[in-house]
């Protein structure tokens, strides 16, 4: 018994070390590139770039389009996630897989796919132009491209979040005269809020980083379709360092937003204050 326990302890110790090594490996894999990117930038270049009107324009456009895309994804993803979470039907697994597919598509191909669907000569092009809607080369097109690639992330997270809400609350709402929709709005969404927020944050991050589908489907026009990742791409044409500076800018920006979603504005302020004190 003593030897078995001894073996157990040794095994546990080994496992702990292995786990720490693996976890450390992941941290190095994810952290080191980010750190070395930040180390490489020239603060002067970054400061200059931040003040450039074109960059500010791109940043603003990125913010507007990624938020709009997230809004589109959230609004249209909610009913789908609700359906997937609460109903059983034929072909459900197939539908789930189809929703995941945009993730596999190389982004430029996604852009081509969007053009063949919503372009002037696309499948739905006639219907759209009939309705007076133009997507390619418009800001709306950027939103569509971002929504296309970001949607799977939100639907997956929202679906899991809905499934975690105890059925009893929905039943309670139903016995209190709440129609399914009323229950969705007043009970399910508030109770699944953390998961929905996390999913929206992931979607937003993906939309913010979107490049390939955007440049192919919507083009790269400053002020109209040139988002930050596109600006990074253009900078890359002449100056790698500038491109890195812009990427770090994009990173800092999304870090701030993601952290503030996770922590709430107040706690973010506290964290920043602490960081500032520490850096003094």
């Amino acid at each position: 018994m003593a030897s078995a326990e001894g073996r157990g302890e040794l095994g546990a110790w080994l496992a702990r070390v292995a786990g720490a090594l693996l976890a450390g490996g992941l941290m190095v894999l994810l952290g080191l590139p980010l750190v070395s990117l930040v180390l490489r930038i020239d603060p002067g270049v970054l400061a200059d770039r931040v003040r450039e009107p074109l960059i500010l324009q791109a940043l603003r456009l990125s913010l507007v389009t990624s938020l709009s895309a997230t809004a589109v994804v959230v609004a249209s993803g909610l009913p789908v996630a609700y359906l997937l979470a609460t109903r059983e039907f034929r072909g459900k697994r197939v539908l789930e897989t189809l929703i995941d597919l945009p993730m596999v598509l190389p982004p430029t191909v996604a852009g081509v796919a969007l053009l063949t669907a919503f372009g002037r000569n696309g499948l739905a092009g006639h219907a759209l132009s009939g309705a007076g809607i133009t997507l390619p080369f418009t800001t709306l097109g950027v939103v569509v491209a971002q929504a296309f690639v970001a949607a799977p992330f939100f639907v997956g997270a929202a679906r899991a979040g809905f499934q975690e809400v105890d059925r009893k609350y929905l039943d309670a709402a139903a016995t209190l005269r709440a129609s399914p929709f009323h229950a969705l709005a007043t009970v399910l969404v508030p109770l699944a809020a953390p998961a929905l927020l996390a999913g929206a944050a992931t979607s937003w991050a993906r939309a913010l980083g979107e490049f390939g589908a955007t440049i192919t489907f919507a083009g790269n026009m400053p002020g109209v379709t040139q988002t930050m990742p596109l600006a990074v791409y253009l900078a890359l044409q002449s100056d790698l360092d500038a491109a890195i500076a812009l990427s770090v800018l994009l990173l800092l920006f999304s870090l701030t937003v993601l952290l503030s979603i996770r922590l709430g504005p107040w706690r973010l302020a506290a964290v920043l204050a602490r960081a500032r004190r520490a850096s003094r």
Binding site: G219, M221, Q237
Partner: protein, 251 residues
């Protein structure tokens, strides 16, 4: 014909023209108060696809005849598509020059990490043509082209990736356009020129599109690019001028 009080000109241009064309756009705007010049910079092939799909473009400047021809075949081009600039290939090595390459002949040395653009990309096609031409010259080692190609560790989809890899010191040498060696890049790399007789000239055609909303401004822009001012600015950005006066020569 657009009854717009503030007319805009939309130029679709290869991403490698970014710096030069932005300058030219500002000049045209200064000459034509009220006119706004907008650019859509992307890969030539992406631009061609977009024009095919009905993009609202006035001018198309391609880094390659191929994509211009494609657009032309679709009947999208108004008139000619003259070549307004040329580019030539150079070999770049990192400033630190880890493989100690001082001449083109040393590219055959075993273990040298060379990057090229892929054959499907114009720069890649030209690079291979250059290697063949060099191989046919006596001052270069035996089976020069094959031995260099054997050292290739990556065939990039994009010339800029070749630049990045050399700039970051990952590759020992790479074949890029002269125009890719911008001042920012020049801080990190050294250039080894390829003799003109073995070099290949890439051609940049430009055209006004039939669907242009502002054909008059479009023609003005093309003229500006081909004018002396335009050609000077292109040269400043590492391109070889091809002014309007001379007829385009085949490489």
């Amino acid at each position: 014909p657009h009854p717009d009080s503030a007319p805009t000109l939309t130029v679709f241009a290869a991403a490698s023209l970014t710096g030069a064309f932005r300058e030219l756009g500002r000049i045209l705007e200064a000459r034509r108060p009220g006119l706004t010049v907008k650019f859509n910079f992307a890969g030539s092939q992406q631009l061609a696809l977009q024009i095919d799909q009905g993009a609202p473009a006035d001018v198309f400047a391609s880094a390659d005849q191929r994509w211009m021809n494609g657009v032309r075949q679709q009947g999208e081009v108004e008139g000619e598509a003259p070549v307004f600039a040329r580019n030539r290939l150079v070999v770049i090595v990192p400033r630190t020059n880890p493989a100690r390459i001082r001449g083109l002949a040393e590219l055959v040395r075993r273990g040298t990490k060379i990057v090229l653009a892929a054959e499907a990309v114009p720069a890649g096609k030209y690079s291979r043509e250059v290697l063949q031409k060099l191989a046919s010259r006596r001052e270069y080692p035996d089976r020069y082209d094959r031995r260099v190609l054997a050292n290739v560790v990556s065939q990039e989809e994009n010339v800029k990736s070749v630049v990045s890899k050399v700039q970051l010191g990952e590759a020992d040498a790479g074949f890029v356009y002269r125009s890719d060696v911008t001042p920012a890049v020049a801080r990190y790399v050294s250039v080894i020129d390829i003799p003109d007789e073995s070099n290949v000239l890439a051609e940049y055609p430009i055209a006004v599109l039939t669907s242009a909303q502002n054909p008059e401004a479009a023609r003005l822009f093309v003229a500006l690019v081909r004018s002396d001012t335009g050609q000077r600015i292109l040269r400043q950005h590492g391109l070889i001028p091809a002014p309007a006066a001379q007829p385009a020569a085949q490489p």
